[in-house]
């Protein structure tokens, strides 16, 4: 059974910290996210989902941008209805934005802490797995 060591490795892989390792990449991502959310907010989506628009079914992240826009406008009910994970992504966004403002040494320290936490708990990968489960459930439950 070789799947378990592989799963263990993937589970504890520091995914989020590898994403935020380079400050320049984080800043670039933040700018792109802000542009994307702004364009979604004014109804001029600059990045349509290639899965939904071509194949016709929702991807795990479909509705997330709109849900985040709702959330930033304080419309919690609509946001949760649109995508359950929107609050977590908003939290991640503000965390990244806050970190980007930190001095370089402190930034590296925080990144290292997050990496250790991820290796211990695998929180980001759990969230991603939960998102896939949510997507499957959402596909079969019409109310979502």
């Amino acid at each position: 059974m070789t799947i378990f060591p592989w799963l263990e490795k993937q589970w504890r892989y520091p995914t989020f910290s590898s994403l935020i390792k380079h400050r320049k990449v984080v800043l670039f991502l933040l700018v792109i996210i802000v542009i994307h959310l702004f364009s979604t907010g004014i109804g001029f989506g600059l990045w349509p989902c290639p899965i939904k628009t071509t194949l016709g079914f929702k991807c795990p992240g479909c509705g997330l941008s709109q849900a985040i826009v709702h959330l930033l406008h304080g419309r919690w009910d609509l946001a949760i209805k649109e995508h359950l994970f929107a609050p977590l992504f908003v939290l991640g966004f503000f965390m990244m934005a806050g970190m980007a403002l930190l001095p370089v040494q402190l930034y590296q320290k925080v990144t290292l802490r997050i990496e250790l936490l991820e290796k211990k708990t695998g929180f980001f990968n759990i969230m991603m797995a939960a998102l896939v489960v949510y997507w499957i459930v959402r596909m079969f439950v019409k109310a979502w």
Binding site: Q10, F28, L46, T53, P60
Partner: protein, 81 residues
């Protein structure tokens, strides 16, 4: 025009899947799933790593197809994908 829009969409989807496979292989399952959720992240990752992963041509085609799709959507009024 609709057929062109559909072909552009299929082309963009193929490019997306090709880059996504690379993302899964190189960055792990977590970021791979993030790439499915947010195709924009896959797109950015592709451009950041295009030389290392030798996917410059795929990225160029994907970019051109995305621009065509946006033009078709907003200027001509045909749904891109």
């Amino acid at each position: 025009m609709q057929i062109i829009a559909y072909l552009v969409g299929i082309g963009a989807l193929v490019c997306f899947i090709l880059v996504l496979i690379k993302l899964f292989k190189k960055a792990g399952v977590g970021l791979g799933i993030l790439g499915i959720i947010c195709a924009l992240y896959t797109f950015i990752w592709g451009w950041i790593n295009h030389k290392k992963e030798k996917i410059t041509n795929i990225m160029l085609i994907w970019t051109i197809l995305t621009i065509i799709a946006l033009i078709l959507n907003y200027a001509v009024g045909v749904k891109p994908y």
